[in-house]
């Protein structure tokens, strides 16, 4: 049993993957709470898909993925705004059209004959390919996101509770929403390298959604979300080691299981509370 726990740790690959998923889990858990409370899940997933051509382009020309992703996410954001204005469509429609177009463009580029191997890592993540540099980058950017969240905590709390009172409280609601989206985008840039374009939304939304079912205050919700994300991440990597499954997908399955467990626990709690009354 003990061996089963320590054996994977003797490999640098698994150690680095565990370090990366732990960092991603802590940051995603924290910002995921605001994504859930501000109902930004759709935006977060769209941002993740929209940066795909940026990642592919960076991989094709050999530029850092982080840079490609950042450029991709900026272009996606601008296009969403422009499409929303031009077509007179509802924001939902504009986002859907722009993001699927961008994703399609990324896939076209990725399937061209010149594309290097390993592009599927961009779609499904490459946790086991994590380098020490990746971990350092995730640590630095992740810490910056956490500090920003700590500084903005009370304002995010107040505006999420009652956006209408923002101006009276001296909080510029539009600016705060933009900053929050920027922090979400930054977190996606870091997390997408581990979990890939298609799976990254799971770690942003899943743990926070699970934590929301179990907690009634924001700080405990953040701690619980971080704990769920890290637990599922570690469990997923162990599963991938022993069951020879894809690391990113295993993490996502573990996240879904955690959410189902939380939902069951919340149901049980509410039923027992109802019985007592």
């Amino acid at each position: 049993m003990i061996d089963a726990i320590f054996e994977p740790l003797s490999y640098g690959i698994t150690l680095r993957a565990l370090a990366e998923i732990t960092l991603i889990g802590i940051v995603s858990g924290a910002i995921g709470c605001w994504i859930v409370l501000y109902e930004l899940s759709y935006s977060a997933e769209s941002l993740a898909h929209g940066l795909f051509p940026g990642l592919v382009a960076a991989a094709l020309i050999g530029a850092p993925l982080l840079l490609g992703g950042a450029v991709g996410i900026l272009i996606a954001a601008i296009l969403v705004v422009v499409a929303g204005r031009m077509a007179g469509e509802s924001p939902d429609t504009a986002i859907a059209v722009v993001i699927t177009s961008l994703f399609g463009a990324g896939v076209l580029m990725a399937l061209s004959p010149d594309s290097p191997a390993g592009l599927q890592g961009l779609l499904f993540g490459d946790l086991l390919g994590t380098t020490v540099t990746d971990i350092l980058v995730a640590a630095v950017i992740g810490s910056a996101v956490l500090v920003a969240l700590w500084l903005l905590h009370e304002r995010l709390l107040a505006v999420g509770f009652d956006p209408g009172s923002g101006p009276a409280l001296g909080v510029p609601v539009g600016v705060l929403n933009l900053i929050l989206l920027g922090l979400v985008a930054t977190t996606i840039l870091v997390a997408v390298q581990g979990l890939g374009n298609l799976l990254v939304a799971a770690i942003l939304v899943g743990p926070a959604a699970a934590a929301r079912l179990l907690t009634r205050r924001v700080w405990p919700m953040m701690l619980a979300a971080g704990a769920v994300a890290v637990t599922a991440g570690v469990a997923g990597i162990y599963a991938s080691y022993y069951l020879k499954t894809a690391a990113g997908a295993s993490v996502v399955i573990a996240l879904v299981l955690c959410y189902l467990l939380a939902a069951a626990a919340a149901q049980l709690r509410d039923r027992t509370a109802a019985v007592r009354h």
Binding site: L37, L151, H153, E154, R155, L157, A158, G160, F161, D162, G164, S165, P167, A168, L169, G170, V171, R212, T215, R216, R217, V218, M221
Partner: protein
Amino acid sequence: MDAKLSDGERHRSASPGSGLRERPGRKLIEALDLAIGYDGRPVLSEVRFEAWYGSRIGLLGPNGGGKTTLFRALLGELKPLSGSLTVEGASATVPQSDRSRLDYPVTCLDVATMGALARLRWWQRPTRGDRAKAAEALGTVGMGDRADDSFGDLSGGQRQRVLIARALTAEADLLLLDEPYTGLDSKSAKRLDRLIEELAGDGRTVMIATHDVEQAQGWDRVLCLNRTQIAFGPPDDVLDRKVLEATYGGHIVEIPGEPGHGVLPPHHHDHEDPVHRDPAHGELP
């Protein structure tokens, strides 16, 4: 937050003849030929009134009559299109409690503490002192023993008092209450009456948007709005059939046995029925 919106010369006018002489305070609000609206088109115009510290002002008018627009101007969110509006102090809004998010993970103390943000620079976070002040404000509104309870677990009247505590933590001189009696049972409504009286007694000005003419008769001033200012003054002088018809567009129901004052607009709602919610109430124009 000193919301000075005056874009014209500030005038000093003599205090009006009646009403507030028993509370000789400083002037808090002065509106001079004020017009406000959106995209350059006025929603509300010809507004002229003054308010002193420590007064209760009823704001009467139909939906779309400009009550919410006036609130937004008093909060500094809307600039005058013409004329001037001066508010010599901080203002805070108390929104309708049935519109707040009940599933949001906050305690009463968290909500009351949010008011402190109004006094802080953008990089400052509320301190322990601010939380103490918020706890004190909860005590003032009679919610001191519920500080650690979830906001969503409270009744409508209790949520309202917590939102008033938030305004007190902001150290607001002017409290803007939007349809505060909507959905309250008669006990909660009486309790809110007392609280408003106490707040005014402490020198705060409370402005209450309401459809309830009867209620407004107990306050110091009424301001009747229907796209323009219909009337302003002590309720006994102002509230007659003519004014109410101009305010509510002529659809007035007269209560038998109370000639003159017992006139109610069609929107009057039943305080005995806490479940009753009229979705049309208090909508933005």
